[in-house]
């Protein structure tokens, strides 16, 4: 088992997996998302080929009102 942090929450995974699979598994369905892995933005086109591993930090964000 490995541990990652996604949107500030710790999650256990069986092992490394692709970002695309992880997001799908967690139920992210919106197309208006942006993702950063360890402070680097991962374009949508690379989600399928980007692996998430132990101790990785992921931020998944969407548009929000702001000042």
């Amino acid at each position: 088992m490995i541990e990652i942090i996604i949107n500030g929450q710790t999650k256990q995974l069986e092992g490394p997996e692709t970002l695309e699979h992880l997001l799908k598994q967690l139920g992210y369905q919106q197309d208006m998302l942006a993702v950063a892995l360890n402070h680097s933005v991962v374009p949508k086109s690379l989600h399928r080929s980007t692996l998430v591993g132990a101790h990785d930090h992921i931020e998944v964000v969407s548009p929000m009102a702001g000042g």
Partner: protein, 267 residues
């Protein structure tokens, strides 16, 4: 509204309004839409926040805005470090498809005052990555000089703490910013509460004003949006028309010569 003789160019883009608006804390999306229309703005700010998984709620708000024709200026609101702000800016570019960013690096939780060191650090990194940085800063001249030297074409000094409604705490300092940076676009951002605050900013020579709370929290946000648009326009017109200088003494506007009962004869 800007005329051909007083065209407003922001980051190389022609703009139809010198009023920029935030989109947060409106009573409803419909009121937000109506307020934006009433103000006649072209540029609006948005933020990024964590998306919850399995969020099946509609994103009607975003769907409306992205097809509305407004120019989006993403912010890095709430970021407490240069690293957070840079990453957030990158996420904003990915999400909104713009290289514009309103850069906020906050240094104090109570006042939400900018962290000048983090701001400069983040600005340097983002400009190297091709961003057009709109830095939220104070009236500090040294920080402004560093930001301009790094390549900022726009500076966004606060009037007073975000959401405080206090207006302009230090008009002389803002006047000095205008004097020392005549070719930099100055947009007053933060702390505006009344229309007169926005008008004052324009009378000081600022190029535009960005505000959110003063409209969103007004009793009638739609009416207030229209009022602010007119206030910004009036302030700009006043500035271009040449304001009189303040005096420490009185100077009568009615000529003394020929006043009845005055000493001396008029024959």
């Amino acid at each position: 509204m800007p005329t051909l003789e007083d065209a407003f160019t922001l980051a190389g883009t022609s703009c139809s309004s010198r009023l920029l608006m935030g989109t947060a804390n409106y009573p409803s999306p419909d009121i937000l839409k109506a307020a934006l229309q009433a103000a006649g703005v072209e540029i609006i700010t948005l933020s990024l926040r964590r998306e919850a998984p399995r969020n099946n709620s509609s994103h009607g708000f975003w769907d409306y805005l992205r097809h509305s024709g407004y120019r989006i200026l993403p912010n890095t609101a709430g970021c407490r470090s240069a690293q957070e702000a840079v990453t957030t800016a990158m996420l904003g570019r990915e999400l909104f498809g713009t290289h514009w960013v309103k850069l906020e690096v906050i240094g104090n939780d109570r006042t939400l005052a900018p962290d000048p060191f983090g701001l400069v650090e983040a600005t340097e990194q983002l400009i190297e990555c091709g961003f057009e940085v709109f830095p939220y800063t104070t009236e500090d001249l040294t920080v402004a000089r560093r930001l301009v030297d790094l390549g900022c074409r726009i500076i966004m000094p606060w009037g007073s703490p975000i959401g405080s409604g206090q207006g302009i705490m230090n008009p002389q300092a803002l006047k000095e910013l205008r004097r020392q940076f005549p070719d930099v676009t100055l947009i007053l951002d933060a702390g505006i509460g009344k229309v007169s605050h926005a008008t004052l900013a324009m009378e000081l020579g600022f190029d535009g004003v960005l505000l959110n709370t003063a409209i969103a929290h007004a009793e009638d946000p739609i009416g207030m949006a229209s009022a602010f648009a007119q206030g910004v326009h009036a302030g700009r017109l006043a500035y271009r028309s040449g304001l009189i200088e303040e005096r420490s003494h009185a100077q009568a506007s009615t000529p003394e010569f020929g006043r009845p009962f005055s000493p001396g004869a008029l024959l």
